[in-house]
């Protein structure tokens, strides 16, 4: 299979997904199948062909640097699962000084 179980575990970690053992097995099988199909892209000769990242090429879309309407702090926080003192609240990230 083009992708190992360890690869699946590694990618799940990168993607911040706590997959179950069952899912790791299933995804190894399914992703392998899909990647075998995706491998087709390698068969087309593309030497000297530039990559295309967007359907309509655009460079530096500017606007005037003026203040327009924007959310209030209350609106911006209104959808958050946890808020404290007008801010998004998350579990502690930085440990106490030793």
């Amino acid at each position: 299979m083009p992708i190992s179980r360890a690869d699946v575990q590694h990618v799940a970690r990168l993607a911040r997904l706590a997959l179950s053992d069952d899912e790791l097995d299933r995804f190894q099988r399914q992703l392998s199948n899909i990647l075998e199909e995706a491998d087709k892209v390698k068969r087309l000769p593309t030497e000297g062909v530039p990559p295309m990242s967007h359907a309509v090429p655009r460079v530096n879309v500017w606007r005037d640097d003026t203040v327009g309407p924007c959310f209030t702090q209350e609106e911006a926080l209104s959808t958050a699962p946890a808020v404290e003192q007008g801010r998004f609240m998350v579990p502690r990230i930085i440990e106490d000084e030793p």
């Binding site: 992708i3 690869d7 699946v8 590694h10 990618v11 799940a12 990168l14 993607a15 911040r16 997904l17 706590a18 997959l19 899912e23 995804f27 399914q30 992703l31 199948n33 899909i34 990647l35 199909e37 995706a38 491998d39 087709k40 892209v41 390698k42 068969r43 087309l44 593309t46 062909v49 530039p50 990559p51 295309m52 990242s53 967007h54 359907a55 309509v56 655009r58 879309v61 606007r63 959310f71 609106e75 911006a76 209104s78 959808t79 958050a80 699962p81 946890a82 998004f88 998350v90 579990p91 502690r92 990230i93």
Partner: protein
């Protein structure tokens, strides 16, 4: 039959507009008809995730009031519309079909939603979809599948299956979907309605919950081409809030609809209409192409060999963009958050594990893999170069042809559950629609007839900003085919409903 009272939502928007103008119908009556149809059928069909009954009726009353005062009204004034639940609506629950956004009430409206309001359309509700628009059957919704009104044991297609079903069944007159790899055209084909994938950049993506930003495009569903063109006019046009939005794009798609197709050069793309298709599917599509020829078009075959690689390229590019776009669902700013986390990484991992369904996880994994160190150039980079070749071949074809034509989907609606455990087979549903998204071109699926009682659509493809010509050809074909369109005349499950009415 007479389309009055409970059957008003079976009319097209232009038929409704005539009745509103002559005083034979009101926006409230049309909205009530749509809501009654939803009430009568949605337990089976499950096209809607949120029905906006009260807001819709308030809006309809406002339209009727404005009309009675002689005020200038928008082109869609009083017309019931179904909105795919991937466009944000201020204060109205918006889920993207995902449990991770189960209780998300956005603080703003998408630009498309604002434009629909300005045009006077009545949004009757938010429709079901494959989670984050990833899928071809609407079975990947976190809230259960939508059923095809032609045969409720079958899928309506996807990802915009809810909006396609709503329009096909008279739950609404018009619908809004999004198309990243075929998510408007394929359900339009499977539900027997018109579906337009506009040129990338013609319609604003501001307030569209992103799946693959370089491919996503908002577009209309309708029961005829004139309605689709009118709806596209209402939502198209530059938006400073979307930096990929095209400036000075044409936004008149209705005035040339009747101009016919005499002398138009149309290429039949071999890769979009292969001989390997089931003969039953090929027959109505070839017959439709013959009609285009009789209407004066010059038909010739052509081959675009890079299309064979488009599906593979798409299933690297779209997941790569999705893995990046969906990183934002981390339990911090919106939606679900896992309980009692040990630390912030644990919170994010368990939130995403609980909130995302299997297809979304699969695509995030695929994308993260294609972008990861060691694989980036072989997969993502190579897919981007294939994308260039697809776009170049299309551009070369437009030197010989005004439009291209082919099948929208390899088959008719398939049974619910049939492909759900075989993601690769499900992906193949999009094999004819994907090349257009890669190149940013415009395309429309227009009903071509029935195969064993199930609809099949013909796909017309146009160069960037070629919508007016494309819709003109679609309109000519539709008028010539003259298929019955009213839901109560064609949808078997609605016949009982019709008989039950006094």
């Amino acid at each position: 039959m007479t389309a009055t009272g409970p059957f008003l939502s079976d009319l097209t928007a232009h038929e409704l507009a005539e009745r509103f103008a002559s005083g034979d119908a009101t926006a409230v009556a049309a909205t009530e008809a749509a809501l009654a149809r939803i009430q009568a059928t949605d337990e089976v069909l499950h096209a809607f995730l949120t029905v906006m009954g009260e807001q819709a009726l308030d809006q309809a009353r406002a339209v009727d009031g404005a009309r009675s005062r002689g005020e200038r009204l928008g082109p869609l004034a009083g017309v019931p519309l179904a909105l795919k639940d991937v466009l944000v609506t201020k204060g109205v629950r918006t889920t993207a079909g995902s449990r991770i956004l189960d209780d998300f009430h956005p603080p703003y409206d998408a630009t498309v939603v604002q434009r629909l309001r300005d045009a006077g359309a009545i949004v009757v509700g938010k429709t079901n979809l494959d989670e984050f628009a990833m899928g071809s059957s609407t079975e990947n919704s976190g809230f259960g599948p939508t059923r095809n009104p032609w045969d409720p044991s079958r899928v309506p297609g996807g990802s915009s299956g809810g909006s396609a079903t709503a329009v096909a069944s008279g739950q609404a007159v018009l619908g809004i979907g999004t198309d990243t790899g075929g998510s408007i055209r394929q359900p339009a084909s499977l539900c027997g309605v018109v579906g337009v994938k506009p040129t990338y950049g013609l319609v604003s993506r501001y307030g569209l919950i992103a799946f693959a930003s370089s491919l996503d495009q908002v577009g209309p569903f309708a029961r005829d081409v004139r309605d689709a063109a009118t709806l596209l006019e209402a939502i198209a046009g530059h938006d400073p809030l979307d930096s990929t939005s095209i400036e000075d794009a044409p936004t008149d798609f209705t005035s040339t609809l009747e101009h016919g197709i005499d002398g138009l050069r149309i290429g039949v793309v071999k890769e979009l209409l292969p001989d390997t298709l089931a003969p039953a599917i090929l027959a109505p599509l070839r017959a439709a192409i013959d009609r285009l020829e009789r209407l004066g078009a010059r038909i010739e075959e052509c081959s675009l060999p890079s299309f064979e690689y488009a599906l593979s390229a798409y299933y690297l590019i779209a997941p790569a963009e999705c893995s990046s776009n969906l990183a934002r669902y981390d339990g911090v700013r919106w939606g679900l958050r896992a309980k009692d986390p040990t630390d912030v990484v644990d919170m994010m991992q368990r939130t995403r594990q609980a909130g995302f369904g299997p297809e979304v996880k699969r695509r995030i994994m695929l994308g993260a893999y294609a972008l990861s160190a060691g694989y980036y150039d072989a997969y993502y980079g190579q897919a981007q170069r294939v994308r260039t070749l697809v776009a170049r071949e299309l551009d070369a074809a437009y030197e010989r042809f005004d439009l291209l034509v082919g099948a929208t989907s390899p088959g008719t609606a398939f049974p619910i559950g049939e492909l759900v455990d075989d993601p690769l087979q499900m992906y193949l549903s999009d094999v004819f629609t994907i090349p257009v998204n890669l190149a940013g071109n415009a395309a429309v699926s227009v009903p071509a007839g029935l195969v064993d009682g199930l609809p099949v659509g013909l796909q017309l493809v146009a160069p960037v900003l070629g919508e007016a010509l494309m819709l003109r050809a679609a309109h000519a074909l539709e008028q010539d085919l003259d298929l019955p369109k009213r839901p109560t005349d064609v949808i078997p499950m609605l016949r009982d409903l019709q008989e039950a009415q006094p």
